[in-house]
Symmetry: C2
Subunit: 314 residues, 2 copies
């Protein structure tokens, strides 16, 4: 398929680099201030070298990428809250042109799910967004396979940064501040870590899961009960450990809604994944609990989910 | 959809019991010596009560179920090796009538994969078989989502009976014979446990995975290297434990083919699942390792996979 990529961060760059491997052609790419368009297909190395050297992918206007020839628009600009712009506008333009949209950007489906479904209903294009939840871990496609009606609860660890910090705090007996600084040095945490450590990122993912699970719920971040790990004392982890337990930033979608917060869980629980691993537990009506786990973030990992979605559109 | 069910064991019965819940109608069901057909839909309780009381589901000939009106034939007769009959013949009849086939029976896709694909190519019907590998755990649909080309190795524990025996042997320090007898009492192992403990059942599942993963491979059980757990001394588990390791019956599909046998793995490895749990690890080219786990067997669990497959046909 012909693919246009909005966003030239880790995910957008990986989509550009790997597209040929999956049999697709990237005909346009945009970052926040520029775009490059070539109906014959972009050369990944040329575009990414220019991005590295000059800070822009090309000399065209970002809007030109939206108007280019493509079958699928991959929306990989940073997640924004509230009106979810500019991601939502990109999605709207593509759907109005009857093109498919694959989202890596959580904003549109976490904050404006109803609007997205409405635009999709009026379009020949389809919207898919496996990449917004847990990187390459098949979360939404698993719900789709079983049928949302057959899943009573979805629970798990969907923020690798918070999980890395909690794991290190417990294993090494270090303070939150110490481990956070270490995580920032390693590139596991961002300079401003609030999105991850305050639970916002995990909450957005569970809101998306809830929107898929409960037809018509149309939840947003405001509907979720969210508590982060940034005020967790190291002593809480010590106390947990004495009792054979540990603390993880657990999110869940139940009949009562969406909740994210630090929870005590047994050390040998399947949910007690280490480091940046993510895990999702699906409680089903007739098949007990199923667990999917793996790396929940990263450019190539998330691009893998994007290509899985594109595969479903073919 | 209208569904005909061949086989009235645990899986077939669960498909009959749960069909309405998933919005489907069972129009025919057969066991090895009888059948019951009703285009308006069978009543699950009536059929299963008769099966329990009289040993037959109805008074018609099993062939009548094959000739009934249905959109999907669910083949849930016991797995047989070699010619995979009678399951293969049932599949052939349905495909020749341009009906879909959903397999819970491993035989046709483990022993005659090429023949199945050939018949499918000539039919309007499609063949799906998620239920043949790991109960409700999404194994084949995960491979389908990522694309077989992106998965380098599939590895894991796909026999709950063997895993239960190994877990108990290690945790309680008991002999193989002792735990096997206990498992038979609990219904976890069959009276003749050879299919499970000799590795055949796991090998069939990994052969199916290999057939899906490597287009044109058309492997059979004969192509797999298989070793069971029935000759494993308790002392081997003791030695493993002293070294922080454990032993599991691990199967894998690699470039070198299909191999099943007892393997030493670290006690804290994701693959070291307990009891009757199953787990599958997918090594991917760009997204690291992903793990799916859950109950790999059981009537309702396997029926859940059957309905997921039927959902994909709609």
């Amino acid at each position: 398929m012909n693919v246009a990529v909005m966003g030239a961060g880790a995910v957008g760059s990986s989509v550009l680099e790997l597209a040929a491997e999956y049999g697709h052609t990237v005909t346009a790419m945009a970052d926040s201030s520029s775009a490059v368009v070539d109906p014959g297909g972009l050369d990944a190395t040329t575009v990414l070298d220019r991005k590295n050297a000059e800070g822009v992918v090309g000399s065209a206007d970002p809007e030109d990428a939206l108007e280019a020839e493509y079958d699928v628009l991959v929306e990989a600009t940073p997640t924004t809250l509230g009106d979810a712009e500019p991601g939502f506008g990109h999605l709207r333009t593509a759907l109005e042109r009857d093109r498919h949209v694959v989202l890596a950007n959580k904003g549109p489906v976490a904050e404006r799910y109803g609007d997205v479904r409405e635009l999709e209903a009026e379009s020949e294009g389809e919207v898919r967004f496996e990449a917004t939840v847990g990187g390459a871990i098949p979360v939404l496609s698993t719900i789709e396979s079983f049928g949302p009606d057959q899943i009573t609860t979805v629970r798990g660890v969907l923020n690798g940064t918070a999980n890395f910090i909690l794991t290190r705090m417990q294993n090494e007996g270090l303070s939150y501040e110490h481990v956070l600084a270490e995580a920032q040095d390693l590139g596991v945490a961002e300079a401003d870590p609030s999105f991850d450590v305050e639970g916002t990122d995990a909450a957005l993912k569970f809101v998306i899961v809830a929107n898929v699970l409960r037809d018509g719920a149309e939840l947003t971040l405001d509907d979720a009960t969210v508590e982060g790990i940034h005020e967790l004392p190291a002593s809480a982890l010590d106390l947990a450990e004495e009792d054979g337990q540990t603390i993880r930033l657990i999110g869940e979608v139940t009949e009562d809604g969406v909740r994210v917060g630090p929870r005590l869980i047994p050390e040998n629980s399947a949910l007690a994944v280490s480091g940046t691993q993510n895990i999702v537990q699906f409680e089903t009506t007739y098949a007990g609990s199923l667990y999917n786990s793996g790396r929940g973030a990263g450019g190539p990992e998330t691009a893998t989910a994007v290509f899985a979605d594109i595969g479903h559109l073919e």
